[in-house]
């Protein structure tokens, strides 16, 4: 099947080079005519490098100048830097065997690495051939070479339990049925083809009396699974949706970080995982695997050196001209970046939804954390030693735990089997963290209020709790609100890690967009700006609250009020005594 794909790709790309079919070429590569000229340039380059051994270079890249033409060539580079998808245990091991000198950095998504390789920041990374091929369609500067990997089976992974086995067995019968009827191939064709209108997945709802299953995936691996129009789509998703619809089961898809996919299955959080997972020995041992529904070879992505990189340094006279062109090009490229980041596939919906999730989690966590922090603060102020000690222990533990780790513990350990929504886990996690900081803040604020204030209230006949809320707390709030505000802003920013537990917040939305546009600058900068705007807005709200607590402002309001009241008779008499 792999061969079939290569053959197909060759045909398509060979077709591109035929001058009488220009429409097809732009169609396929979704690119401007400039690509054609690059290709012409590439042909010239090819002439000079024809002596190089090109046996590991797929036919469609033979006319390009690749940074490396074989693994052996890569091995000659002493400072080789490779990217690696976090969680690719088997590939990682193999890569280290093939390229022992390489320095390997770990990344969360393929598109990020594709972007870095295309820009020459990384020398290469290894992933499934269709994934890199798909990335190459979006990145004119990305190609790949064969790395000598055996083709691997792509499978679905089930927990090693009775429930997992029975679901797997059921799935296997359908996979075989689809294979026999040729349906597998036609789904392949659909997702590796270019008819975008048909690339839609409908996850089925359960028929009456049938269960709904939770499927974990990591939608950063186009064309197998990725986000389009705000929905998880892709070859594997389509296949699973069709099979489950036929079985009558409901299917719920959960998009989580790649390294969390298997974790989620092992802890029982999800019923199975489909995320371009291949049959490695480790998987076989610890999980039940379905029959293969796709065979993929792992290949090495490498940079295509285009004319920009090859061009000698510009002469002095030309420099200003080219600067002007660059500037004009900047506006145009920003425009197209904007369109790609927000307009295409209605990606703005991802962003607005992400903003909402970020704000929602921030505010709920702050509310929960404030209440919790207040209780802990009361414990801290308690004269009972053990209560104080418990509060101190809580604060020290929470202050010493990274929020990501706390969040993962809550999601994958504490609440793993409860089926509680990730958003609530996030609220609890951030709230617990926020509470620890807020309690100390409140305590210092309360201790800064003169003891005499409490005594005076008690002497007037207030009960202790009432005196605390009526007299001490408002004064303490004036002390701690400015610090609280800062802590709240850091909470807003801290929520950017919720992607770890499968929540699509603003950061995750920008990750998803980047995985589709293969672009880093625009989505990241706009995300930063949006975070700034959210923080600014929330700061304004808190500042307004703070002003309400400021007594001199309230006094001025009272003064205005009383002046308005006094004005009446004076105005009246003023009008009555003109003569």
């Amino acid at each position: 099947m792999l061969l079939r794909f290569l053959f197909l790709a060759c045909l398509i790309l060979l077709g591109c080079n035929e001058p009488e079919k220009p429409i097809r070429s732009t169609d396929l590569l979704n690119d401007s005519p400039s690509t054609v000229s690059v290709r012409d340039e590439g042909e010239k380059v090819m002439d000079t490098t024809s002596a190089v051994d090109l046996k590991d270079v797929p036919p469609q890249f033979r006319d390009k100048k690749l940074k490396y033409n074989s693994i052996a060539e890569m091995n000659k580079n002493e400072n080789l830097r490779l990217g690696m998808q976090t969680g690719f245990v088997f590939v990682d091991k193999e890569t280290r065997r093939l390229l022992p000198k390489a320095k390997i950095d770990y990344y969360k998504s393929t598109p990020d690495m594709a972007y870095l390789v295309a820009n020459g920041k990384l020398d290469g990374f290894i992933n499934d051939e269709p994934v890199i091929r798909y990335a190459a369609l979006e990145n004119p500067n990305l190609g790949y070479i064969h790395a000598g990997f055996e083709p691997m089976d792509i499978v679905a992974v089930f927990p090693k339990k009775e429930k997992g086995r029975s679901l797997r067995d059921e799935l296997n019968t359908y996979i075989e049925k689809y294979r026999a009827s040729g349906l597998l191939d036609s789904i392949d064709n659909l997702w590796l083809g270019h008819d975008e209108t048909r690339k839609v997945v409908d996850f089925p709802k359960a028929k009456e009396g049938k269960p709904t299953f939770k499927m974990a995936t990591s939608a950063i691996n186009p064309p197998f699974e990725y986000i389009k129009d705000g929905k998880v789509v892709g070859y594997e998703m389509d296949l699973m949706a069709r099979i489950f619809a036929e079985m009558g089961y409901g299917l719920e898809v959960h998009d989580v970080a790649f390294e969390s996919v298997i974790l989620g299955v092992e802890t029982g959080m999800y019923d199975f995982a489909v995320a371009t997972l291949s049959t490695t020995p480790a998987f076989k041992e610890k999980n039940f695997l379905s029959n293969s529904f796709y065979v993929s070879e792992c290949v090495m992505a490498v940079q295509i050196l285009d004319e920009k990189n090859v061009l000698p340094p510009a002469k002095n006279g030309v420099a200003s001209d080219s600067a002007a062109i660059v500037e004009e090009g900047l506006i145009a490229s920003l425009k197209s970046s904007f369109v790609r980041t927000f307009v295409m596939e209605s990606r703005w919906k991802l962003v607005t939804n992400g903003i909402w999730v970020t704000v929602y989690i921030s505010i709920l966590s702050a509310l929960f954390g404030t209440v919790l922090g207040f209780l802990i603060c009361l414990m801290r102020l308690s004269k009972i030693r053990i209560v104080d000690a418990i509060a101190i222990t809580y604060i020290r533990i929470l202050q010493g735990t990274p929020s990501v780790v706390l969040l993962m513990i809550l999601f994958y350990v504490v609440f793993a089997r409860t089926g509680i929504d990730g958003v609530w886990v996030a609220v609890i996690g951030f709230g617990m963290n926020f509470g620890a900081y807020v309690s100390e803040m409140m305590r210092t604020g309360i201790e800064a209020v003169d003891k005499g204030q409490m005594e005076a209230a008690l002497a007037l006949g207030y009960t202790k709790p009432r005196a605390f809320f009526k007299i001490v707390l408002p004064q303490a709030a004036r002390h701690f609100l400015p610090v609280y505000q800062g802590e709240f802003i850091s909470l807003v920013k801290m929520t950017s890690i919720v992607g770890y537990i499968a929540i699509q917040d603003l950061t995750k939305a920008s990750d998803i967009i980047r995985s589709r546009t293969y672009e880093a600058f625009f989505p990241l900068v706009t995300t930063a700006i949006i975070y700034f705007a959210i923080a600014w807005f929330l700061t304004r709200v808190l500042t307004a609250m703070q002003k309400r607590l400021d007594p001199s402002r309230r006094r001025n309001r009272l003064l205005r009020h009383s002046r308005a009241q006094h004005c009446h008779p004076r105005c009246h008499s003023g009008g009555a005594t003109p003569r």
């Binding site: 003169d450 005499g452 204030q453 005076a456 008690l458 007037l460 207030y462 004064q475």
Partner: protein, 360 residues
């Protein structure tokens, strides 16, 4: 109205109240005076339970407020307290300070509370400051506002805890004037104060507290004009006291002289007077008494100095047979001694000699 029985308060390292007993009647205006650190404030704070007494009983109108389960907030509502450091609520305006407890605790309407507050602010002369914040007021104004806040609750008794001690001398008068006015209206008051003239003028009774008890109590005339006990007198007259017990067998002449010097220096006794004092001590106590006294007897010497008029008095007390030190004294020292002192009085009764010298 208030009965205090065997009140005792122990802090981890001091015991300010040992055994305090007192009866306070309606309409009493009692000033509590005494040296610093003798538990005057603690006594006041125990009465409204800002401090928990270690032992003893406090009855208000026959009801114990020290018994477990006593409704302390409602008892406190009958008792106002004015603090040394005012303790106005910093986040509220003066008007709100006076209104808030009325509305919250006495369930008065805002209008009633407002009218009451403004009336009180007029009587303490702060009506124009109603909308100011505490931080914008001077110390004296703050204390007057605090008194108004206390009075707004219509207390049956007001406890004043050193109301003028934290004030500039220039502001003491305005606060005392407000309290004087209250005294005229017949309000029951307990005032811890260091303002002696004020205490004498307005009080019906004076408690002199010392050594953890009410050491002496009486009318202002009794306490101020005719105190019965030495410590009371020393306090009232603001006497500085030097006390030493001299044993003939272990007498350290230089040590005592040095301590006398230090005493004179510390209390700014004039040069002439301290020279005379030392001369009198030398001739009288050392030469005329110590040298003639049986070795087994001891001499109790007390020296009292007051900056205001009373001058320096040396009192010497010793046992044995009647012994007037002036008898058999040489002519020259006697003459000099007469020059150094105003009077020398010797008494002998009950086996005790007392000599009192007023130094010139």
């Amino acid at each position: 109205m208030i009965s205090i029985r065997h009140l005792k308060k122990v802090f981890p390292n001091v015991t300010p109240l040992l055994d305090v007993n007192a009866e306070i009647e309606k309409g009493d205006i009692i000033s509590i005076i005494g040296p610093s650190g003798t538990g005057k404030s603690t006594f006041l704070r125990c009465i409204n339970r800002l401090e928990d007494p270690t032992a003893g009983e406090i009855l208000i109108d026959g009801k114990s407020i020290t018994a477990p389960g006593a409704d302390i907030p409602s008892l406190r509502r009958k008792m106002g307290m004015v603090f040394q450091s005012f303790n106005l609520f910093n986040h509220l305006t003066i008007l709100e300070n006076i209104m808030v407890a009325q509305v919250d605790l006495l369930h008065r309407s805002k209008k009633e509370a407002y009218e009451k507050a403004m009336a009180l602010l007029h009587t303490v002369g702060l009506a124009d400051k109603a909308l100011d914040l505490p931080e914008e007021l001077s110390g004296g104004q703050k204390q007057r506002a605090a008194i108004a806040r206390t009075l707004a609750m219509d207390p049956e008794i007001v406890l004043f805890d050193e109301p003028t001690s934290a004030l500039d001398p220039t502001m003491v008068g305005e606060v005392l004037a407000v309290i004087r006015n209250l005294a005229k209206q017949g309000l029951t008051m307990l005032i811890v104060t260091h303002e002696m003239k004020f205490a004498r003028d307005i009080s019906t009774r004076i408690f002199y507290m010392d050594q953890g008890v009410i050491y002496e109590e009486g009318t202002p005339e009794q306490i101020f004009d005719n105190p019965q006990k030495d410590r009371t007198r020393q306090f009232i007259r603001r006497l500085k006291v030097f006390e030493e017990v001299i044993l003939p067998s272990t007498f350290d002449y230089m040590g005592t002289v040095n301590r006398l010097y230090a005493f004179a220096e510390k209390n700014q006794v004039s040069k002439r007077m301290s020279r005379n004092m030392l001369f009198a001590f030398e001739e009288m106590v050392v030469q005329s008494i110590l040298n003639r006294l049986p070795v087994t007897e001891e001499i109790h010497m007390v020296m009292e100095y007051s900056g205001e008029g009373d001058g320096l008095v040396i009192k010497v007390e010793y046992g044995g047979e009647a012994l007037n030190p002036q008898d058999g004294m040489d002519e020259v020292p006697r003459k000099f001694l007469e020059l150094a002192t105003n009077t020398i009085v010797h008494n002998y009764s009950g086996g005790k000699n007392t000599v009192e010298l007023r130094i010139r």
